[in-house]
């Protein structure tokens, strides 16, 4: 379960701190927990199946929240409209799902200081994306990889 940090960095592991060492020892990944049957996982890690189901549900909810299709749990408790809007705005920044209008509002580009290159790139290098620049090196290496 060491890959939990990479998959869901915001996941609160506190309620499941008793499960994680056993899962770690059995070399069970997050993908295993999500895709395998809870009984199988429980047998491999020698843990109660009900606990594994609880962990699976929490992981799924965490992934849904990250994707933006579920609301985070603390927002459910919050009744105030303004607070909810604020946290929603925060949530859109951190979730994978965005609306087209949000995308348009937050569209920032870095110009290449050349209008032709900029027009080819539709404005420049935008934020929020990984861009790659590729080309030959100075001294050409003959490396058939």
């Amino acid at each position: 379960m060491t890959d939990l940090l990479a998959v869901l960095p915001e996941f609160c592991t506190l309620p499941f701190s008793n499960l994680l060492p056993s899962l770690e020892r059995a070399q069970i990944t997050v993908a295993d927990v999500l895709t395998s049957d809870a009984v199988d996982i429980a047998k491999r890690a020698q843990l109660p199946a009900r606990e594994i189901r609880r962990l699976t549900d929490a992981l799924l909810h965490g992934l849904h929240t990250q994707l933006g299709v579920a609301q985070s749990s603390d927002q459910n408790r919050d009744g105030q409209v303004i607070r909810a809007q604020d946290s929603q705005a925060e949530a859109t920044a951190s979730t994978l799902r965005t609306l087209g209008s949000n995308l348009e509002d937050s569209w920032n580009v870095i110009s290449t200081l050349d209008h032709r290159l900029d027009s080819a790139l539709a404005g420049g290098i935008p934020t929020g994306y990984v861009t790659e620049v590729t080309g030959e090196r100075y001294a050409l290496p003959l490396c058939p990889t």
């Binding site: 870095i110 110009s111 290159l117 620049v133």
Partner: protein
């Protein structure tokens, strides 16, 4: 000695990758319409950040040198760190970079290059020789190393995308290229050649799934070639020779092969029909790290360098007044007589992108093209031209240098079009200014065409 060093440093084989990245390091600091008013973080894996080049750019770039203190980008707002190996790169990216982004208000993360550490630490040939030619699927060391590298690349891609999204950061990485080799039609078995009846026997659209599904290996890594008796089926009895491993997969024209699909995402090989490039098949490149890494990025920009087509070498003469009183010889991209560097044409290609259409731009290699080569070499015949430039203008938009068009400085001097005048007998290059009508905000080719007539002279 320094002369030699300069020549080497700005050797024409460079395509301007690092230059492109350095420009971004400065432009991100500019206010909103151009940049983000934020700092930049530069992670280098090979050579350290060249502050000398940055300083030269700051003092000579037409859009940067006129700025004054509060707006002017400064080197102090560029953080730089070196990652000599993969482990330190992983640690720095995962733990130190997020802290630095929050602390220093970073808007741009540049990694130059993403390939070096992976290439240095992944050596399939060493793994292969250590255990001999054991090509079984389970204990294959090459396959295991590839699997491990795939996982590393995917986690790196996830990390970079998360950083970009979380901090609203532009992440720009540079990649290297490797030569791509296509199977020679003559050396392979005869029915592989596209012109032979055997190749025409299996049309690409008819049974792709059947031939694809029966292949035990990907077309990238074919097994050791089968003996001819096994791999060469009788053409009459095999309408679809799908039992052979390397039958349709090795033909680069077969649409399901990776060789065929390379042209869609590598930036090389999709213009084979272009008449200007001869021998394109021998000059194919592929960005390193393969399809796995290609899937991690949102945009690929390829900077391609090619020999310019021979037809573009003509000098052009332009007369400003209709009466033809002043005749100027336009310096085309090819016109640097005896200058090897000017024969190269460079293409800026957006290979694929999540937000812009994919297309290519030609940028003819010249010493004055500021974006790609900021400082003319000392031995350059363009030196006279460079010294006669007005202050603040050191860039020529060479794309406009097609025959019959004027050269233009994309600089602060938008209001004027500058012609490069060449006097071959005196060996002098001079600039001539052509005034543009008032109220003309931006340059467009039409008013120029109206006022000048052009003719080709044999160069």
């Amino acid at each position: 000695m320094s002369h030699l060093k300069d020549l080497l440093t700005y050797h024409p084989s460079g395509v301007g990758k690092t230059q492109f990245l350095l420009i971004l390091l400065l432009s991100v600091q500019l206010p909103s319409p151009i940049g983000l008013s934020k700092s930049a973080l530069y992670i280098s894996t090979e050579a350290a950040l060249s502050t000398q080049r940055l300083a030269q750019m700051l003092s000579t770039h037409p859009q940067l040198c006129d700025l004054h203190d509060p707006d002017k980008p400064s080197l102090s707002r560029i953080l730089s760190i070196q990652t000599p190996d993969l482990e330190s790169q992983e640690h720095i990216l995962r733990f130190q970079v997020p802290v630095a982004i929050e602390r220093h208000n970073i808007g741009l993360l540049v990694i130059d290059s993403i390939t070096a550490n992976f290439r240095a630490e992944f050596d399939p040939s060493a793994a292969k020789t250590s255990t001999g030619n054991n090509n079984t699927s389970r204990g294959n060391p090459v396959g295991a190393a590839l699997m491990q590298r795939t996982a590393q690349l995917q986690s790196l891609g996830t990390l970079l995308r998360d950083l970009a999204r979380k901090y609203n950061l532009a992440v720009v990485v540079s990649n290297q290229v490797a030569d791509r080799f296509l199977p020679e039609p003559n050396t392979s078995t005869p029915y592989l050649t596209p012109g032979t009846p055997g190749a025409q026997r299996h049309p690409p659209s008819s049974h792709p799934a059947a031939s694809h599904g029966n292949q035990p290996q990907t077309p990238m890594r074919p097994k050791s070639p089968l003996p001819p008796s096994a791999s060469a089926p009788n053409p009459s009895s095999y309408p679809f020779p799908s039992t052979s491993i390397d039958t349709p997969a090795q033909t680069p024209d077969y649409p399901l092969t990776l060789e065929h699909q390379h042209r869609f995402f590598t930036g090389w090989g999709d213009q084979s029909s272009s008449p200007s490039i001869t021998g394109i098949r021998h000059n194919l490149k592929t960005p390193s790290l393969g399809l796995i890494w290609t899937n991690q990025i949102a945009c690929r920009i390829a900077l391609v360098k090619r020999k310019a087509r021979p037809g573009a070498a003509a000098l052009t003469s332009i007369s400003l007044a209709p009466g033809g009183r002043d005749e100027y010889k336009l310096l085309n991209g090819e016109a640097g007589v005896g200058m090897g560097a000017s024969r190269w044409q460079r293409h800026f290609r957006v290979v694929f992108s999540a937000w812009a259409a994919a297309h290519a731009l030609n940028t003819t290699r010249k010493c004055l093209c500021h974006l790609l080569a900021p400082i003319p070499t000392p031995a350059s015949p363009f030196n006279n031209l460079y010294s006669s430039l007005p202050p603040g203008a050191s860039e020529i938009d060479v794309s406009a240098a097609a025959p019959g068009r004027a050269l233009r400085f994309t600089s602060a001097m938008r209001q004027a079009i500058w012609f490069v005048q060449m006097r071959p007998r005196e060996g002098v290059l001079r600039l001539c200014r052509m005034p543009v009508m008032e109220g003309e905000e931006d340059w467009s080719p039409q008013p120029v065409k109206k006022r000048c007539w052009c003719s080709r002279v044999s160069g």
